[in-house]
């Protein structure tokens, strides 16, 4: 079954996701004034989002069918690498996505 057509699953997912939006953005607006973040916790919070994004991207691009996919034939990887270099140089998201998709399409059709 395609989960994108399972409205019960999607509605429950979106409800929970909306809660994560509100409780993180509003956390300290709602907490009592005496409550402060311990320094070590604040440090961990600074690294968690980058690590979570990395884990998603790594599993998306460097795995296939629940197996590591570390091969020269991994077109998505080369596209991501090319796009990332462009973003580091230009800080332009549109340029990054354009270059990444062009590299991916060229490799897919001709490599």
């Amino acid at each position: 079954m395609n989960h994108f057509h399972d409205w019960g699953y999607l509605a429950a997912a979106f409800a929970g996701l909306t809660v994560t939006t509100v409780i993180t953005r509003g956390s300290f607006f709602m907490l009592p004034a005496r409550f402060a973040l311990p320094a070590q916790v604040e440090r961990a919070l600074r690294y968690a989002p980058a690590c979570a994004l990395t884990a998603i991207v790594a599993q998306g691009v460097l795995t296939r069918n629940h197996e590591p996919f570390l091969s020269f034939e991994n077109n998505q990887w080369w596209a991501l690498l090319a796009g990332s270099i462009v973003f580091v140089k230009t800080r332009n998201m549109i340029a990054m996505i354009t270059v990444g998709m062009v590299v991916f399409t060229v490799l897919r059709l001709w490599a």
């Binding site: 979570a52 884990a55 998603i56």
Partner: protein, 227 residues
């Protein structure tokens, strides 16, 4: 705010295209964008929703991506804590990356808890005006993205666009050695642990990555203190 409208629109369009290309139908995409309202988290959970991952894993993944907002909220809390709770709840929903960046630039002294004008009407007006325009421009961009994404053939592999967009959000967060060590170890654990049941490899990867980054920071501080 207005000079930033094109950037918000672009990010909305990119998110919208990537959501639809990941396989979400347009009605579901509309429901998601008008409720969840958190672009990076929306894109991050897309591959999980596509495979019907357990909901707790979906929610925890979004929570991890959204944890940066906790730091934002802690930094600007003095401007909001005096408000009645419906207004605080609304501010909680609308307080995205951009609103926070502009608000804290303008009211830096109050954010530090030093000003006498915490929670005054000017701050609320500035925040609210900014946040509402941000919401409208972002949603318009997203809806445009759904329409564009719906026109693209699915065999072009445009779901890669979502990973490219997430990487563009990620790169500015990773400037120093501890963070680099953290994301490299995260990637290694995520790839090796991809076969773990219920996508638990994701959470394990984040746990390892954050630990490595914290150890790296402690090690770096010790070394700096010695020299």
């Amino acid at each position: 705010m207005m000079p930033l409208a094109p950037a918000i629109t672009v990010w909305g369009v990119v998110t919208g295209v990537a959501m639809v290309n990941a396989g979400l139908t347009i009605p579901a995409a509309l429901l998601m964008t008008f409720t969840v309202f958190a672009g990076s988290a929306q894109l991050a959970v897309m591959p999980l929703l596509a495979t019907g991952a357990p909901l707790p894993i979906v929610w925890v993944t979004a929570l991890l991506v959204n944890l940066r907002f906790v730091i934002f909220a802690a930094a600007s809390r003095w401007s909001f804590m005096h408000l009645p709770w419906p207004q605080r709840l609304l501010a909680s929903y609308l307080n995205g990356d951009l609103g926070f960046a502009l608000f804290s630039r303008r009211f830096a002294a109050a954010d530090a808890g030093l000003g006498n004008d915490n929670g005054n009407p000017e701050q609320w007006g500035y925040f609210y005006g900014l946040a509402v325009v941000n919401w409208i421009v972002w949603q318009a961009g997203s809806v445009l993205g759904f329409l564009i994404g719906g026109l693209m053939p699915s065999d072009w592999g445009f779901e890669l666009a979502a990973y490219l967009a997430l990487t563009a959000v990620l790169i500015p967060m990773v400037q120093r050695m501890p963070a680099i060590a953290g994301i490299v170890s995260t990637a290694a654990v995520a790839v090796l642990g991809v076969g773990l049941p219920m996508r638990l490899g994701l959470l394990l990867a984040v746990l390892v990555g954050v630990t490595v980054a914290l150890l790296g920071e402690a090690w770096r501080e010790r070394r700096l203190a010695r020299t």
